[in-house]
């Protein structure tokens, strides 16, 4: 994997050197800008702002999406009624929710986070609905016979069955949330990676765009490899 990425960087470098175009900087120039932004504190400031929004939107959408998904998966009448709503929200373009949230709730932090969460909630709900539908009746009966009670049933029977669906939602969720957060920031915030990218776009400053994109990809990859993947491996360890 390292070899394949290095090849990509090398190709990029060669292309940049051959073309000699100011809109395609070399990797070295990008790293220089990265170092400059890190040095003057802008990089940390914007990345922290973005990560806070990602975290807030992620937690909110996982909680609400899970609650909706479980309710729909467990209660057929609710599912029949709300299925059309879910499809509608799934297909609502992110740009529409974002602009409407800003118009209705003002250019505020709450509006920004709400807009991102609204984009993610339907995905989580659909995933968790599948999880709730797949809950085993056999194991539920076993828990009744052996007098598990609600807490043991939740902890040892229900949650382990939902865990893989939850982990899948979390992984796909993080990817979606951070991409939308950048759009929300470009539109109506004065901090964050999205805001910084928008400024750079107005100046046609490709080097800065690439520098911030690079920094953010690295951070998301670190979260993926150090938190999400080990978590998913843990909840599926019992599989044959």
């Amino acid at each position: 994997m390292v070899g394949s990425l290095l090849t990509l960087v090398l190709l990029w470098h060669l292309l940049a050197v051959i073309l000699q175009n100011k809109y395609l900087p070399t990797p070295v120039e990008v790293v220089d800008v990265l170092a400059r932004e890190a040095g003057n504190g802008d990089l940390v400031k914007h990345i922290v702002a973005t990560l806070m929004r990602v975290a807030a939107a992620f937690v909110i959408s996982m909680l609400i999406g899970t609650a909706i998904g479980l309710a729909l998966g467990l209660y057929r009448t609710a599912d029949k009624f709300f299925d059309a709503w879910l499809i509608l929200f799934l297909n609502l373009p992110a740009l529409v929710t974002i602009t409407l949230c800003y118009i209705w709730f003002g250019l505020s932090e709450a509006a920004a986070v709400t807009a991102v969460a609204l984009n993610k909630i339907p995905n989580v709900a659909v995933n968790m609905r599948e999880g709730a539908r797949a809950l085993s009746r056999d194991l539920a009966e076993m828990a009744v016979i052996y007098k598990f009670g609600w807490w043991r049933t939740l902890r040892h029977v229900t949650l382990p069955q939902l865990a893989p669906f939850f982990a899948a939602s979390a992984r796909s969720g993080l990817g979606l949330v951070w991409k939308i957060v950048l759009v929300v920031e470009a539109f109506g915030r004065s901090t964050g990676v999205g805001y910084r990218l928008n400024i750079a776009f107005q100046e046609f400053d490709v080097t800065t765009i690439l520098a911030y994109a690079l920094a953010f990809i690295i951070i998301v990859q670190i979260i993926e490899f150090t938190i999400l993947q080990p978590l998913q491996a843990k909840v599926t360890a019992w599989r044959r």
């Binding site: 052996y146 599989r239 044959r240």
Partner: protein, 252 residues
Amino acid sequence: MASVVDIAKGTAHAGRPIKVEVKRKVFPPVGDREAQLVLRDVAFEVAPRSFLVVTGPSGCGKSTLLNIIAGLDDDFEGQLDLGPAGDRLTYIFQSPRLLPWRTVEENIALALPEGDPRLARIPEMLARVGLAQAANAYPERLSLGMQRRAALARGFIVEPEILLMDEPFVSLDDPTAQSLRELLLELWHSQPTTVIFITHDRAEAIQLGTRILRLSPGQASVAQDAEVALSDAERRDRSAVLREQNRIFAAA
């Protein structure tokens, strides 16, 4: 202290038969399928500490009957009187129904409340069913025969007053099924309890049961009720089992 009380309660139950009376059990219509009468006038009593085998062709409503007795299905016309023994009822299902994300030992421990004195018996129980080495294994990594042993251990660790079993030895090869039957008899002798055991295998019915209840095919009702006249030694003898099987099922 709790265990002393439990034992005292257990002795008190020993004298009382359990009574089952299912007048009608109907499956409601699903989609194109019409409502289906599954059980009709199935009534019997089970003497304490006896081993009743309910047998009959596949699809005659045996499992439905067991679900009713277990309290998993209360949508029926009739009466159920398990007495105080009903509080200590256990069900060993057709599939082992172990939690795949918990080890064998954890699965057995979960059948008991936290801090229960019976928890201390788990290692001994695992050894008895031949799973001492597999205590920390996840069920899906074990053979079906071993999973069924774990289910037996879980059923017996709670020291049930009533033990329901729904074809717990199907889809096993013959020697494995036979060794599990012997294990079941051994556990039952050391921990006598009222058993209702379902099977469509007549030889298995004779080998295990002290009494056979045969259900008729379709809209099942009781077709035959017979005592099995075999000593413990004869139960291990195939020809004796076959003789008794021919005698009892001659009417069928």
